[in-house]
Every structure is written in structure tokens, then in C-alpha cells.
């Protein structure tokens, strides 16, 4: 799929400090067009912080971030989104007093799906409906978002991003906390999103999901990249096993 190997998102030596602690430390990596790039690492490794500085929820302290040949680390969260770099949050966020459909409408209205071309009302409504269908939320469109269960909250957060036809979608633990059936459904959805040509950055704690979905994986530890490569290679890497995967994963695998 990533034959062309054209980088779409590039981080060069990025760091983020909280006080004296480096949550992300001199980190560089490239994500190629249309791949699924997995990110893993123990709790507190700095994965979410990395998403926060790429999307500019937090300002980056050092380094540069490039998206589609354009430096974005000085742009604001909202303008980065409008460029086509969308994200979800580890703790599901939602507009609780709006309906499911309105939640998606927010993305469609402010996210610039046609990249500069103003959409007419009908086209936008169709786009919203398609997105609700695609994420399996159509039946719940008129429910107030506050009433949704975890699975639907996660789906809705993805839908409000997808409706803007992003080029890159960053997912922060989209599967964590879900049961088997729901996990499978979300994994299938992530594959479908990727099939439509969307590049995916995927943080996930559940290793089978991450390894199963990703073409390449980066392992983080104490804010640094300790390993990067194809999933099966990474899984065998000594430092990774030591730092993170540990016995638990090996035990899991041998079951």
C-alpha cells in the first residue's frame, strides 16, 4: 500500500517538558502516506503528549513538525484540523448537550471538508449522513450524546473527525476499554478508514490490535523512541520486550 513511501507527517527532534521532566524527548519519525503507523509504550511513555504537540493542544518546546510539506508546529489546534490533520482523545470527548448528528455537524461545519470550497447545505447534510452510516451511528443520530455508552462515544469522536475527510487521523487508544465484539468492530472500522486512503496514527495499549493493524510500529519509553519497524520485528526486539511488552505479552502469545 505504501509503495510510494511519501512522508505525510514528519517530526524532527521534538521535545516537550513538564517542569524538568521530558515527556517527549528529541523524538524524530516519519509517517508515510496511506499507512497505519502504530505507537506503543508503557503508561506514561509520552504517547498522548506526542499527539498533543502534533495537534497543538500543547505547544512543542523543541523541534519541528511537518505535515504535507508545511511546518505546522506554530499553527493552532483548529487550523491544523482544518488542514486535514484530525485526532481523537484518549478520554472520549463529546459535545454532551448536542445530538449525535449535531456532534458530527460540528466537524463538518468548522472542519473545511472541501478544503477551501464552501459546501452547500444539501452536500453537507449528505456528507454527515454518509459519515454516520460509515461509523455505524445512523440509528442513534437523534440521541443526545451524553446518553451514549463508551463504544458509541469513541465512534462519534471518530465520526466528527472523519466527516471532514482528513488526510491523517490520529487515534489515541480507540480500542482500550472495549469488549471483544466492539474491539473487532473498531478494528474493522480503522481498516476501512485506511482503505479510503486516510493515513492513520494509532496509539493502542492492546498489543494484538496494534500489531494486527499497523504496517509499522514505534515503541516509546520515557519520551524516547526505542524501536521502530515492522510489527513482528519489533515484537522480538530485546529492548522492547524489556521495556514494555514484558512477560505479559509473551504469555499471551503462547496461550
Amino acid at each position: 500500500m505504501s509503495q510510494k513511501k511519501k512522508p505525510i507527517l514528519v517530526a524532527e527532534g521534538v521535545s516537550k517538558f513538564f517542569g524538568r521532566m521530558a515527556a517527549v524527548k528529541d523524538l524524530s519519525f516519519q509517517v508515510f502516506e496511506e499507512e497505519i503507523y502504530g505507537i506503543a509504550g508503557p503508561n506514561g511513555a509520552g504517547k498522548t503528549t506526542l499527539f498533543n504537540i502534533i495537534s497543538h493542544v500543547l505547544p512543542v518546546d523543541n523541534g519541528q513538525i511537518m505535515f504535507k510539506d508545511k511546518y505546522i508546529h506554530k499553527l493552532s489546534l483548529d487550523s491544523i484540523f482544518r488542514l486535514g490533520l484530525a485526532r481523537t482523545f484518549q478520554i472520549p470527548a463529546l459535545f454532551k448537550s448536542l445530538t449525535v448528528r449535531q456532534n458530527v455537524q460540528v466537524g463538518a461545519t468548522f472542519g473545511d471538508p472541501e478544503k477551501g470550497v464552501k459546501m452547500d447545505k444539501r452536500d453537507m447534510e449528505n456528507l454527515i449522513d454518509e459519515t454516520l452510516d460509515f461509523t455505524g451511528l445512523s440509528a442513534k443520530r437523534d440521541i443526545i450524546a451524553e446518553e451514549l455508552a463508551l463504544m458509541d462515544r469513541k465512534l462519534l469522536m471518530m465520526a466528527s473527525a472523519l466527516v471532514t475527510k482528513p488526510m491523517v487521523l490520529m487515534l489515541d487508544e480507540p480500542i482500550a476499554g472495549l469488549g471483544k465484539v466492539d474491539s473487532d468492530q473498531v478494528m474493522e472500522l480503522i481498516r476501512n478508514i485506511n482503505k479510503q486512503g486516510v493515513t492513520v496514527l494509532l496509539i493502542e495499549h492492546i498489543m494484538e490490535a496494534l500489531m494486527g493493524l499497523s504496517e509499522r510500529v514505534m515503541i516509546m519509553h520515557h519520551g524516547e523512541k526505542i524501536c521502530e519497524g515492522k510489527p513482528d520485528k519489533v515484537a522480538k526486539d530485546e529492548s522492547v520486550i524489556e521495556a514494555y511488552l514484558g512477560e505479559e505479552y509473551i504469555r499471551h502469545k503462547n496461550q
Binding site: 495537534s55 493542544v57 493552532s76 489546534l77 483548529d78 484540523f81 482544518r82 484530525a86 485526532r87 482523545f89 470527548a93 463529546l94 459535545f95 454532551k96 448537550s97 448536542l98 449535531q102 455537524q105 460540528v106 466537524g107 461545519t109 468548522f110 472542519g111 473545511d112 443526545i144 469522536m157 466528527s160 473527525a161 471532514t164
Partner: protein, 326 residues
Amino acid sequence: MKSNKFLLEILAIVLVLSVIPALVRQQYILHVIMLAMIFGIVASNWNLAIGYGGMFHLAQVPFFAAGGYSTAILSVHMGLSPLIGILVGGVAAVILSLIIGIPALRVRGIYLVFLTFAFHFIMLSLVLYFVDITGGDMGLILEPIRIGATNIDMFNPVVTYYTALSLFVLSLVFIKTIIDSKIGLALVSLRDSEVYAVSRGINPYKIKLVTFVLSSFLAGVCGAFYVHYLRVVTPALFDWSFLITFLASIVIGGVGTLYGPLLGAFILTFLMESLRFLEMFRNIVFGLLMILILIFMPKGLIMLANRAQSIFSSRQNSAGIVDEEN
């Protein structure tokens, strides 16, 4: 469907409020209803920022006062007519809202409260300082306007009442239009979760500033109207009782609802008039009322109306979903 419902509601309100002068002969009652309408407008515009946008600020009384003082100054010193003066009051409030909003809306939460609070006193000090223009402590008295050779009082009670009613309806349509627009969607999103809203492309500063400015206009108009109605402007326009009345109207009627602050303003204005004998203790009664509502009915008294309506409509169709919007 939805806009039809709104149209019917507006028609009902107009019908009721416009026949009142024919049925009620006491000038005093009309006076109170008119005050309720004016206070309701100021409160419900404030509610756009506080209730829908979740941005608490204390600039609404300065907006109101800016409208009142600007129109009074221009009519006393330059003979401006009341109708244009009312518009000028709105424009003055808009200018003030830009002056306050451009710096103040960059800060959030409690700082916005402090900054707007400070502005209240800066304005009051300016009014007291420029005695030649504002009349200082004594204020200004507005003469009835002369048009041509005759001495027509443009603000006779009937004209005044229907002017207030027109503003009332205008305000309702104005607010409903904003709520249903992109701005309304953005406001509620920002209130529900600011980071998430911004991560979905909303520019928070722009939306907040636009709302702040929009919600100042009718507050200024009402300040101007109020001053023309009383024919006098004094620093009492900055009085705490206004702040309490507007805020209590929102809380008692229903925060973040279309009709709540209007209902609240009617209840409060009538209470205010009928509890005059309590004097100072009146504010205690209002305070207690606010606390009780906040504890037992955080969505305000308008919820009672909604509940009644949903019970009624669930008899016709079984979809008894409470309409959160009103």
C-alpha cells in the same frame, strides 16, 4: 417543523402582550410589564454568553449603561431624537464590547470575570469624573423632544409600550437566529468541551468575540430606551440591583434556554414591585430564590413549562422527549 413552532410561539407572545394595554387600564401594571420586557431582553442577551457559551462575564451592566449614557449625552447636548438615540445606544454598547472583548476574551474563566468587573468601575469613575458631559452624581435630565413647532412627546405611554414590545420580539428572533446558526453550534460546543471544540476546527476567540459583541447591542438599545423612558440618567444605571436582576432572571428562568430569562425577568420584575415594602431585604429574597432554584431546579422554572408541554404532546404522539432547547 421547528421554525413553525417558533413562529407560533412568537405569535402567541405578541398576541398576549399586545392586547394587555386594551384590557389592563392601570398605567402602573403596563409600566411593570414594560420593565419586565426590557430587563428580559438584557438578561436573555447576556444569557447568550453565559448560558449558551459558558463564558461568564460582568459586562452586561456596562453595556446597558453605555447605551443609556451615550443616548442621554447626545440628546441633551445635541438634541438627538429618541428613536435614533436608541440605535446610538446599541452602537455605543457594541463599540464598548469591542474595547472590552478584544483584550478580555483572550483570557478565560475567572480572569474574564475580574476584567469585566474592573471595567464596570472604570466606566463608573469616568462618568463621575466628566461632570460637564455626564452631569456627574446628579446625572442628566432629558427634555421631551420637540418636533417642528409642536411639542410632541414621542414617548407617550402607548408608544413606549409598543416600542418595548417590538424590541422584545426583535430580541427573541435575534437570539433564536443566533442559536440556530453556526455561531450557536460553536458556542454550545465550546461550552461542552473547549479543547474538543477547537480540535474540530472552531476558533474560540473569534466565536466568543462575535457573541460578546452581538449580545451587547440590544443591551445598549435597552439602556437607551430605559433612559428615555425615565427621562433621566444617573450613575444609578451602574447599580448592583441591575446586575442582580439580570442575573437572577437568567438563573430563575433557566440558564441556556431561549425563554427562561424572559420568564425570569417577568417573575422578578413583578416580585420586585410587589416586595417594595421589604426594601433592603428584597435582595435577600432574590438571593434565596436563586439558591433554591439552583439546588432544586438547575434548569430553571422554564422546565416546568417544558414538562407540561411534553406531557401534553406525549398524549398525541408517544415520543415524550423533552425539548432541551427551550
